[in-house]
């Protein structure tokens, strides 16, 4: 045995991995270890993901025929509301930040934990309480308002459990805020020595910008839900038009959060995809600084475009013009991201591993979603397309095609680090390809339907739309398979998978410089950073790194 291997064994004896550091339920439920909390979140959001998926299955099955033969009108309304509420607030918003972010951010920054470890655990408990409250609302009868809770329907007319569901979402907002505050403080305060802002991995930047959006947008949603509660529970005339209230005010408040929420879903995806593409193409990311600035600009302008959800609401023509313009502007940094990923791939030594297939799928689907977003940002086209399946397809391309693909890509990419095991590459590649085809099969027909005028949230429709709906439902079955399939081979890898080396992909980030799975303290010795990220090729060093390398090294 070489001395290096002996040293490694010694260290293993000294400190067990975070998974072996206590195995009873108590050691998990009272943990303040960010890695374990990431896993708690992963289990919770997987549960919600499949719950939302069941609702989606019901919807797609009902839509196979033009008549209402599976669900009644009311049941259909409750099914799509369940799907929306669960997927948006209990899966998409928390997905990447709370699981991969929680697990990886401290590792990438070279620190032992997040700045406020107990707050981190608290935020998981808040998440669970909010989730259970919402689930309770759905079990006792469900909600029929749609995930948007539009007033005055939600406050005055709906006979469903709006209050409970709204309170669940309100509570979950605190979890989001706590996570955001924690990530921001950690990024500012706990970076390893030498890890300057312009040396941060793009995933860390993505977590940072996402946290800014979370912290600045979520409280506005909380207040609008509180006002809905005040009106519905105590009869205070807030949005009620009969007492001079204005339902448009609710829409402004709601979309001030819910448009930035799209960036809460997609900025983390940018981070994941940047890490995967640069590693699997063996190239330094093209235009690192532009990638960073693009994310910051998206986070900022993301706050100025909410009004494009309200083009047909009767707001002023001037507001329409301004929001339309700003919505076009935000396409610029998004395009910069796509061009820079393409630039990174150019002349790269590309490995078509499973994470890379997911990442490439992301780039394609996000581009389609982004381009169709331009259709909707343009007022005259939006008037035609509002509340049609075109919109449904557009936001699914961004949020599911984009965010969920990236989440699966990231899960596969860091799986060896998180679990210490390798999965079957072949089976994973198959899942990634099935997801891409299943997704396009499901949602591309919806663009066509929407263009032809099929409205969203209707389940009785003219027969000429049936072929498109059938196509979409068949695609959804493929997609469902692609989502469930990883459960098997990833689950299998936990028990039978080959043990993972510290750095199976040959990646450059700090998280790969510790054991797989990492010890509780993350690193055996405190890391120090001397160069920027993504040094995949010696020829691609920047001048300051050359200078750094030429400095006399201390022995």
């Amino acid at each position: 045995m070489s001395t290096r291997a002996t040293a490694l064994v010694d260290r293993e004896l000294r400190s067990p991995s975070y998974l072996q550091n206590g195995t009873d339920l108590r050691s998990w439920l009272l943990t303040t270890d960010h890695k374990r909390i990431g896993i708690l979140y992963a289990l919770s959001i997987t549960f919600f993901f499949f719950l939302g998926g069941i609702a989606a299955t019901l919807i797609r099955m009902d839509l196979v025929t033009p008549a209402a033969d599976l669900l009644t009108n009311d049941q259909y309304n409750r099914a799509f509301t369940l799907h929306g509420i669960i997927m948006v607030w209990f899966f998409l918003v928390p997905s990447i930040p709370t699981t991969l972010g929680n697990f990886l951010l401290p590792l990438m920054l070279g620190t032992k934990d997040l700045a406020f470890p107990r707050l981190n655990l608290l935020s998981w408990y808040i998440f669970v309480v909010g989730g259970l409250l919402t689930l309770f609302a759905l079990v006792v009868g469900g909600v029929d308002t749609g995930w948007t809770f539009y007033t005055p329907f939600s406050t005055l007319y709906s006979n469903s459990h709006v209050l409970l569901a709204a309170m669940g979402v309100f509570i979950v907002g605190f979890s989001s805020i706590a996570t955001g505050v924690n990530f921001i403080a950690t990024t500012h305060m706990l970076r390893a020595k030498g890890l300057t802002w312009m040396r941060l991995p793009l995933f860390a930047w993505a977590m940072y910008t996402t946290s800014l959006v979370m912290v600045l947008a979520t409280p506005v949603l909380s207040m609008s839900l509180l006002l809905v509660t005040a009106e519905r529970a105590f009869g205070l005339p807030i949005f009620d038009p009969r007492a001079g209230g204005d339902p448009l005010l609710f829409q402004h408040l709601f979309w001030f959060y819910s448009h930035p929420a799209v960036y809460i879903m997609v900025l983390p995806a940018f981070g994941v995809v940047s890490e995967i593409i640069t590693c699997e193409a063996r190239r330094r990311i093209f235009g690192y600084q532009f990638m960073v600035y693009a994310m910051v600009v998206i986070a900022v302008i993301g706050f100025m475009v909410w009004g494009h959800h309200m083009f047909v609401s009767g707001q002023s023509a001037f507001a329409n013009l301004a929001f339309s313009f700003l919505s076009f502007v935000i396409a610029v940094p998004s395009a910069i991201k796509v061009f820079n990923w393409t630039g990174t791939l150019y002349r790269g030594q590309i490995r078509f591993s499973a994470p890379m297939l997911y990442a490439l799928g992301f780039v394609g689907l996000f581009t389609i979603g982004g381009l169709t977003g331009l259709f909707l940002a343009s007022v005259p086209l939006d008037v035609h397309l509002t509340d049609t399946y075109f919109v449904v397809a557009h936001f699914h391309y961004i949020m599911v095609g984009g965010s969920v693909s990236a989440f699966f890509g990231g899960l596969h990419f860091w799986w060896p680090k998180i679990t210490g095991r390798l999965y079957s590459e072949r089976l994973a590649q198959f899942a990634a390809l099935s997801m891409f085809f299943g997704f396009n099969f499901t949602f591309f027909p919806q663009f066509v339907m929407g263009w032809m005028g099929m409205p969203r949230r209707y389940h009785v429709y003219p027969p000429e739309f049936q072929p498109w709906h059938v196509m979409s439902s068949v695609g959804a079955a493929v997609l469902a398979f692609a989502y469930a399939w990883p459960l098997f081979y990833l689950g299998w890898s936990l028990f039978k998978g080959e043990k993972a080396p510290p750095n199976p992909h040959g990646a450059t980030g700090l998280e790969w410089q510790t054991r797989s799975p990492p010890p509780k303290e993350n690193f055996d010795s405190t890391p120090e950073v001397t160069a920027g990220p993504y040094k995949y090729h010696p020829r691609e060093s920047t001048p300051d790194e050359v200078e750094q390398a030429q400095k006399p090294q201390e022995p």
Binding site: T32, P106, T111, K112, D113, L114, A115, F116, P117, L119, I177, G180, V181, N182, I184, A185, T186, H188, M189, L190, V215, L216, A217, T218, P219, V220, S222, M223, S224, L226, L227, A230, E231, F234, G235, L236, P237, I238, R242, A243, G244, G245, D246, L249, H252, L253, T526
Partner: protein
């Protein structure tokens, strides 16, 4: 003094830890400001649309209750500021006295608020079928009144709880080594006071000549 600080897990550097807690609190306070911004937007919107009728509603608020309460709350804020400063200088008896004064005055505020609520209810100032004034903008003013003061009272209650926790820590162990905690609590409490300072003119001075 910095070296006396209790060092917590991810931090290896006391100076960093000292900054991190107030930094996190400031980030959280940003969310609080945006939270209240939502309801202030509601006020602005209703007042813009409601015009004179909205101000008619504002005239009904209990000016003296509000004014006395403002004085009480500002004094408790001062007490908290003195407590925080005294803790930095390790004058522990003063810290103790000021923490308890903060708790006392905060509680008095809530009691006065309760009396005011009682008066409002007995005068039918609760929006609904028996509302004293005409339905419409005046009623919207009172919707704002109840929501805003209610949410503020919840925040103040949490703040009083947080100061009680400081008093508890002081009684059980050494508070002077936890000066980031007392600073964070003070920041939170001051924000609650500042929000009241914004609410006071909106609720009690609007509509009065």
């Amino acid at each position: 003094m910095a070296d006396d600080l209790l060092l917590h897990e991810p931090f290896e550097n006391p100076a960093r830890q000292r900054v991190a807690v107030p930094f996190g609190m400031w980030a959280f306070l940003t969310t609080e400001i945006l939270f209240f911004a939502g309801i202030f937007l509601f006020y602005a919107h209703s007042r813009w649309n409601g015009g004179q009728a909205f101000l008619e509603g504002a005239k009904e608020s209990a000016f003296w209750y509000g004014t006395i309460n403002t004085a009480i709350l500002m004094t408790s804020s001062l007490a908290m500021a003195i407590a925080e400063r005294a803790n930095r200088l390790s004058v522990m008896p003063l810290v103790r006295a000021m923490l308890w004064l903060t708790i006392l005055l905060g509680t008095v505020f809530l009691v006065v608020k309760g009396l005011e609520y009682h008066k409002d209810v007995s005068e039918h100032l609760v929006p609904g079928p028996h509302f004293k004034l005409e339905h419409g903008p005046a009623e919207q003013f009172w919707a704002f009144y109840w929501t805003a003061t209610g949410v503020h009272a919840v925040h103040l209650t949490i703040g009083i709880g947080a100061v009680m926790r400081l008093a508890w820590i002081d009684w059980r162990s050494d508070l002077s080594r936890r000066d980031t905690l007392i600073e964070a609590t003070a920041l939170y409490l001051h924000l609650v006071d500042i929000i009241w300072l914004t609410l006071y003119p909106l609720l009690y001075l609007a509509g009065r000549q």
